[in-house]
């Protein structure tokens, strides 16, 4: 988002905070698709994503006064969305707690670069999305926060409730899970082709 866009968003947010219904509508139209996609990536089902999107915007509407206008609005929005989705997953107890325990035990490896390159090259975006659906909640959430929302390691640590030093481990473990899932879909696709 360039400076002009940020300034525009700031002005719209300012008007929305003052109770301007039209400005609120503008904000919603601008950000709802992105937040829906965020929820779609982070949560298991489409229905969950729809519900979460609406709940997030209800929260945003109530908390708009708390937004610090010196920071980009989208960052704050993603922060609220991340907290909401993570809380939602946590309430359902589908977080894989075992991941917390072995965060420090990830072996330091140098994988075969060519093999990795080959695996990545063959995959389409759709296959990656399908593979993402098979990941554990934290792994998926970590990847979404980093590669969709562009959150910093500090923000990810804050959202997921882990120490900052372990964010890299969480992300790398998530990549490993993703590769395993991709290998599975690849095998299935190959099997299907045969």
């Amino acid at each position: 988002m360039n400076v002009a866009e940020t300034r525009d968003s700031g002005a719209i947010v300012g008007r929305a905070r003052a109770g301007d219904a039209e400005a609120w509508g503008d904000l919603y139209r601008e950000y709802a698709p992105a937040i829906f996609r965020f929820c779609r990536r982070a949560l298991p089902t489409r229905e969950d994503a729809e519900d979460a999107t609406m709940e997030i915007f209800m929260k945003i509407r109530d908390k708009l006064d708390q937004y610090d206008a010196t920071r980009p609005f989208s960052s704050w929005l993603y922060k609220v969305a991340a907290n909401h989705c993570w809380d939602m997953l946590r309430r359902r107890k589908i977080r894989q707690d075992k991941e917390t325990d072995d965060l420090e035990t990830l072996p330091l490896e140098h994988p075969d670069p060519n093999q990795l390159d080959q695996l990545i090259e063959k995959r389409t975006s759709e296959e990656v999305r399908k593979a993402l659906d098979k990941l554990g909640s934290r792994a998926r959430m970590a990847l979404v926060l980093r590669y969709y929302s562009d959150m910093s390691y500090d923000e990810i640590a804050d959202s997921l409730g882990v120490r900052r030093a372990f964010v890299g481990v969480v992300l790398l473990r998530a990549r490993h899970e993703l590769r395993q899932a991709l290998e599975g879909t690849g095998a299935m696709a190959a099997g299907g082709a045969r």
Binding site: W24, G25, A32, S74, D112, R129, L172
Partner: protein, 568 residues
């Protein structure tokens, strides 16, 4: 990826010399310290395997980002329409809140006020006691019944609204709407109590001696005469109005002189020059004008409220006198008390007053020795304003400031969101002042016009009520803004209240200065305009929600992992 987690032995040996995957990823994401990052960069210059690994990880990052940002499915319709629904649901909430408040008012009336009124009636005070006369018996305001009806209607609307919400979930929206509308039509179709209304105009508008009118009658002309019987209210406007017949309801009149020689069972409410009562008035008299005179043959069953020049009682008054004006002369019978704030009080030798007499005025009351009084006159000499100035005015200034603070706190705590919006709107000084000026005079004139045309009495009174609330809320709103200018902005409620208190104190101090009234008026216009702006913005229709199209290329900040191949 099993092949990567269990590499062959020769590869393990190599791995000890190569960069591990974590280091590569952290390097690409610019999470390594500078010295370590420089080391990684130098290593990849000479190591093909590590350079390839870096590129592979970076491609993986790009693939992830692309897969996540791609818009493979449209925005669901219910999300696209959600913003509109939120707005609508807020309207429902307001309606429910307002309806519940109205129901509460009605419940309070039926639960507390009405029984109390009945007890007063039983005690012989109903309809003639000053308190009930002022508040309940419609001597001042005939719209109470209308108000109660409206409250009932609002409660009905609330119930209907809730029913509609309930039904909408179960049956089709159109059908539910039709059902509710039919219900309303049925409710409104119930015929009101029959009340014929007759209108007569002309040089002389009259009801002849042999006539008997059922229902209310409107009479206007230079000369108005009621010699016959009217079973209802008489509304009369003219130079001279004479009631010689029998009126079972009220007489509401505007004219130079009113003569009541006949019998009025209800109240007399009048504006004009003089009212002469030679006959009988069953209930109360409310008069804005020069003189009320009750002849020695005349009788008023209830009380007199008057704002004008003189009250002269030679006949019989059943209950109390509440008077603000110049002079009260009593030479007849008063069944209740006298409260006068004026210049003179004269009690003649034929006078009999059964209740206490309180007189605040400039001159000592003149009481004849032959007068029969229940108790001596309690006289308070009127003190001139110049003498009052000093500690008393400072005290009242403090009381007023405290009252505004309490009022402001109440508003800010009850409606924190709206208070912030109004304070924010006040920053637009020009627009606020302009709009405030318009609303101050426009709404006031509109409300008064509605009130004096009897049809819009409730609307006029309600508008005036809201107008008064807004006028008094103007100082807290402007005070909050002034406080923010001094102490800085805040979005928290209590800090905002603190700023409001500071601002109010400043405003009250400023109004004590010479020409302080100009400042006060300016603050009222400014605050009223800000409130109006906030109301206007709140009730603006929502922007229509378009189809859920969003450019696939610009959702939010597209990202690539920090670092990337270029950094390598």
């Amino acid at each position: 990826m099993s092949s990567m987690s269990s590499p062959p032995n020769d590869h393990e040996r190599e791995a000890q010399e190569h960069l591990d995957e974590m280091t590569c990823m952290l390097y690409l994401e610019r999470q390594l310290e500078r010295t370590r990052a420089l080391g990684v960069s130098a290593h990849t210059q000479s190591c093909d395997a590590c350079r390839t690994l870096l590129r592979a990880i970076e491609r993986e990052s790009r693939l992830l980002t692309r897969a996540m940002l791609e818009e493979e499915e449209p925005l669901p319709a219910r999300i696209a329409a959600f913003q509109e629904r939120v707005h609508r649901s807020m309207q429902w909430i307001w309606m429910v809140v307002f309806g519940l408040a109205a129901t509460a008012v009605y419940a309070m009336y039926t639960g507390y006020i009405e029984p109390w009124e009945q007890r007063l009636e039983t005690a012989g005070l109903g309809g003639t006691n000053l308190v009930s006369l002022l508040i309940f018996q419609s001597a001042f305001w005939k719209g109470w019944q209308s108000m109660i009806s409206l409250v009932e209607l609002l409660a009905l609307l609330t119930a209907a609204g809730l029913a509609m919400m309930f039904l909408r979930r179960r049956i089709r929206r159109g059908a539910a709407l039709a059902l509710v509308l039919t219900g309303f039509c049925a409710a409104f179709a119930v015929p009101p109590p029959a009340a014929a209304t007759e209108v007569r105009k002309g040089q002389t508008a009259e009801i002849r001696k042999d006539e008997s009118i059922q229902g209310n009658v409107f009479l206007s002309g230079e000369h108005v005469e009621v010699e016959g019987d009217v079973d209802g209210d008489v509304y009369a406007a003219g130079k001279d109005i004479e009631i010689d017949g029998h009126v079972t309801g009220d007489v509401i009149s505007a004219g130079r002189t009113v003569w009541i020689r006949g019998q009025v069972d209800g109240n007399v409410r009048s504006v004009g020059n003089t009212v002469n009562v030679i006959g009988k008035v069953g209930k109360n008299m409310t008069y804005f004008g020069d003189t009320i005179r009750i002849d020695e043959k005349g009788a008023v069953g209830g009380s007199i409220i008057m704002f004008g020049s003189d009250v002269n009682i030679e006949g019989r008054l059943g209950h109390d006198v509440l008077f603000m004006g110049d002079r009260v002369i009593v030479n007849g019978t008063v069944g209740g008390s006298i409260d006068e704030k004026g210049a003179n009080l004269a009690i003649g030798s034929k006078a009999q007053i059964d209740g206490p007499v309180r007189f605040e005025g400039e001159n000592e009351p003149a009481v004849s020795s032959g007068a029969k009084l229940a108790s001596p006159v309690r006289f308070t000499k009127h003190v001139h304003k110049k003498e009052e100035f000093g500690q008393t005015s400072a005290f009242w200034a403090c009381v007023l400031a405290a009252a505004f603070v309490v009022y402001g706190m109440m508003l800010f705590l009850l409606m924190p969101g709206f208070a912030k919006e109004a304070t924010h709107s006040a920053e637009n000084i020009g627009a606020s002042l302009g709009l405030g000026l318009l609303v101050f005079f426009g709404v006031l004139i509109g409300a008064v016009l509605a009130m004096i045309t009897m049809i819009g009495l409730f609307a006029g009174f309600s508008t005036l009520f809201v107008w008064i609330i807004a006028v008094y809320a103007a100082q807290p709103v402007v005070g909050a803004l002034l406080g923010q200018w001094i102490l800085g902005r805040t979005n928290e409620t209590w800090p905002l209240i603190g700023r409001m208190i500071l601002g109010i104190v400043l405003i009250r101090v400023a109004t004590l200065l010479p020409l302080g009234w100009v400042i006060k008026l300016g603050v009222i216009f400014w605050g009223l305009g800000a409130i109006s702006l906030a109301v206007y913005r709140r009730f603006q229709p929502p922007a229509p929600v378009q189809a859920p199209y969003v450019s696939p290329s610009a959702p939010l900040t597209p990202l690539t992992p920090a670092g990337g191949a270029a950094a390598v």
